[in-house]
Symmetry: C2
Subunit: 150 residues, 2 copies
């Protein structure tokens, strides 16, 4: 019998998306949206490519997922993202009525947890899997940017 795919499995898929962002010179944040054990959307940060400050992994993930499920709300879905969502993305997750949010690294500076109750009251939140790897990837990205500009 196949082992049930768990939060770590799906976060590794989100991490693979973050690696794509890294390779493209984007801030390395990746996300996947899962419904009934299946990935229905994969996304990574594309703010540079699209020249669009709103093109965060979560925003693209929500839009792609709703398009794929043919239903505006994600109340039966889990979003896995390698970095704690920002206020904008938390607001989008609120409107999507997301069922469950799993995020890896914390974002003390821009993360949504600086404020109370930004998510929908029915959204469950889990933090943990791949947090250290995701944090290190972001750190490596910003260090390489600093080296290039110095």
């Amino acid at each position: 019998m196949l082992a049930q795919k768990d939060d770590e499995y799906f976060m590794k898929q989100a991490f693979a998306e973050a690696m794509k962002a890294f390779d493209e010179g984007e801030v390395p944040v990746g996300a996947v949206v899962v419904s009934q054990g299946q990935i229905i959307a994969r996304a990574h940060n594309q703010t540079q490519l699209l020249d669009d400050v709103t093109a965060h992994a979560e925003m693209i993930g929500v839009t792609t997922a709703t398009s794929n499920v043919g239903y505006k709300y994600l109340n039966n879905c889990t979003l896995y993202v390698t970095l704690e969502p920002c206020v904008m993305c938390a607001g989008a997750l609120f409107w999507s009525k997301l069922g469950k949010l799993v995020y890896a690294a914390s974002d003390e500076k821009q993360g949504y947890t600086r404020y109370d109750d930004l998510l929908h009251p029915k959204t469950k939140v889990v933090q943990g899997p791949m947090a250290e790897e995701s944090r290190r990837l972001l750190q490596a990205f910003f260090q390489s940017k600093r080296k290039k500009s110095s």
Copy 2:
């Protein structure tokens, strides 16, 4: 000499966008983005049409404006919107480093002013023009929805 276009003039343009949303059966919120006295983006809520909870007037306005100015930040722009932005939109305005926000009707339930400091610290905020007209348009929309569903 032509009178200089003022906040009320541009809010009327945003209101015209809200009217388009109303006619399309969307929650009637409209926005325009202005740079150097010129409208560089017009947008209205399209969440129903696009089946996308993130398709608020402000989000479309920001994305269209940045695409039109060819620059990721809107620090020299003013966004006029007929309803106080929600948390998601305020988060997007933060990332865009918006120069000035002018909004009409307040949104006590979902508006961003329930929280402190969601906008960029350099964003100036003005509330007022067309507030009553914008509020009434929203009220008329929700009343007509309730009638249809009763």
